[in-house]
């Protein structure tokens, strides 16, 4: 953020045409030569605050455990200093923390994109069948003994994309109707869930138990190698995510208005959903369908930033924050017994979901 964020309208504009609020209120302008970018100020502020929070929770995550270290010790390790805490922090907690961060960010962005396209906060990948598709293929692979943690993410993507394609095929009627899309997604999700149960009963007891834990969403035993797919996918998808942030501005309008503004709505939507589905599926492959993160993070982010569309960066940060915090609590709450991270995100998510629905009944738009 090297260029100054200008407050006043472009200084060189003739005063005659300078009016109140010509630039959307709350936006700053970044200029780099001929390029110009609109920046939502409150979102930047929110992102900064979230980053600080995330840093604090991350340090706490590295400190707290069966052996607890002071923040000073952890910072010594992180800055490459010599410390007896080095092994536990660097080899055990840090890889798991990074996994939590990446998985949370991926779910946050995925939820934001799919909710934007469906114009419905319920349309998050764990509700409309994407996570279940990823899960069904993964559990099938586990049951038939085909999978290791390094292969699972790729199988998950196949499953997630397949489920999304299925939902799309059923929901498509010369156009994509948001409610129809969500309802069919929920139907597919239920069908896939029973398929998962079927696979689990077919497998042997130990595999079924392993699959059950995986289906809840767990970060247990996830190290550098296991989290590589989601980290790489996030990196590779970065340009697409930057494109998506801009595309959201028009996709969040109604179809006719967006089309009239020259947006190739069909393609743009497909692009946004594709990015979201891939991110959600990879994250599911790494940590299982960590419930409600993709649903919650974008909705909280939007309320925090007060933007007209769902903010991607803040959704990613909030997703990461929710997963890291939930895993931290899950590890410690009934220590030494560890709760899978998905249990905690669900425990927070379910009441939130109910609140969303109640609120939409009482007149507020969800």
């Amino acid at each position: 953020m090297s260029a100054p964020v200008k407050d006043a309208p472009v200084a060189s504009a003739a005063p005659a045409v300078k009016g109140p609020g010509a630039r959307p209120a709350g936006y700053g302008l970044l200029r780099f030569g001929p390029a110009s970018f609109l920046v939502h100020r409150r979102s930047v502020l929110a992102a900064a605050v979230l980053l600080l929070l995330l840093a604090a929770v991350s340090v706490a995550y590295l400190c707290v455990g069966e052996k607890t270290f002071s923040p000073g010790e952890v910072l010594t390790v992180l800055t490459g200093g010599d410390s007896p805490a080095a092994f536990v922090v660097e080899e055990l907690r840090e890889p798991r923390l990074v996994t939590a961060l990446a998985v949370g960010a991926a779910f946050g962005i995925a939820g934001a994109l799919i909710q934007t396209v469906a114009r419905n906060p319920l349309a998050s990948p764990d509700i409309i069948g994407v996570s279940q598709g990823a899960g069904a293929v993964t559990v099938a692979a586990m049951t038939f003994g085909l999978a290791s943690y390094t292969v699972l993410p790729y199988l998950s993507v196949a499953g997630g994309v397949l489920a999304a394609a299925l939902v799309h095929a059923f929901a498509w009627r010369g156009g994509l109707h948001a409610t129809r899309f969500v309802l069919i997604g929920i139907g597919i999700a239920i069908a896939l869930r029973s398929l998962i149960t079927l696979f689990m009963t077919k497998g042997d007891y130990l595999v079924a138990q392993q699959a059950q834990i995986w289906m809840t969403g767990s970060l247990n035993g996830r190290g550098w190698e296991e989290s590589a797919p989601v980290r790489w996918t996030l990196l590779l998808m970065l340009p697409a995510v930057l494109w998506a942030a801009r595309a959201q501005r028009t996709v969040s309008l109604d179809d006719a208005t967006a089309t009239a503004l020259g947006v190739r709505l069909g393609r743009v939507r497909l692009g946004l959903v594709a990015v979201g589905v891939v991110l959600a599926s990879v994250a599911t492959g790494v940590a299982g369908p960590v419930d409600f993160v993709a649903l919650l993070a974008p909705q909280i982010a939007r309320r925090v930033t007060r933007t007209a569309q769902i903010p991607l960066l803040c959704s990613a940060l909030l997703g990461a924050l929710v997963v890291v915090a939930a895993d931290l609590i899950g590890r410690r709450l009934f220590s030494p017994v560890e709760l899978p991270v998905g249990v905690l995100t669900a425990a927070v998510g379910a009441p939130y979901l109910i609140w969303l629905i109640v609120r939409s009944r009482t007149g507020g738009k969800a």
């Binding site: 504009a13 009016g19 609020g21 630039r23 609109l38 010369g174 208005t257 009239a260 503004l261 007209a308």
Partner: protein, 280 residues
Amino acid sequence: MSAETSAATGTGPGTAAGGRLAARGLTLAYESRTVVEDLDLVVPDGRVTVIVGPNACGKSTTLRALGRLLKPVRGAVLLDGEELAKLPTKRIARSIGLLPQTPVAPEAITVADLVARGRQPHQAWWKQWSEEDERAVTEAMARTDVAGLADRSVDELSGGQRQRVWIAMALAQETDLLLLDEPTTYLDIAHQVEVLDLVRRLNRARGRTVVLVLHDLNQAARYADHLIAMKAGRVVAQGAPSEIVTEAMVRDVFGLPSVVVPDPVTGSPLVVPGAPWEES
């Protein structure tokens, strides 16, 4: 004001010759249900054209096709002689602005933010805001008198204010052609007049070509330079309102016996239902 309206309804252009936007042999359908069949029309440049007709006659469908929201089954919509379906949608968006019947604003969006989104076809990913954008948005908001609402949330506006904001967004797009689908729906009569007066002023001040779909035949006759009457997916009559709004046309198109008298204010044809109300 009266000069403006009398100019409109006086000797308007007949069936116009020159028009950038035209439809040729247009057949439109929703799935297998044909709504408009083999329709030809030319939108006269620099005029206010109003399409009227009974419910389900295909007037909104036609407008949607003129704005490439609906792909023709047969025939074509032509912009400067080129088929709309073959032009890049962004290029069309620099020539044709369209306001749908019930546009939906994202929750909690501010007025200025929404109007600014009208600049979309003039922007690129790396060029999100220019002085040109700034000028267009400021002008659009001033012209529709919504500058004072710039920081307000669209959700909390009245129907009339909201409609002006949407028109401002379409204006910010700075297109020569502007299509409005029943812009007066859900508005009370004062706001209806306000919106229609605004549309007339826009047309007069900038020579912008406007196509409106209206429900109310009298408003159509009062504000149109060029009136197109549709029935069952076909154009039944078109021309200056003073020439085509007759008792015979009203009976033919709407199936209503009527008396057509001059509007006491503007002199444009005023349709009064012909048979008195009777107890059955």
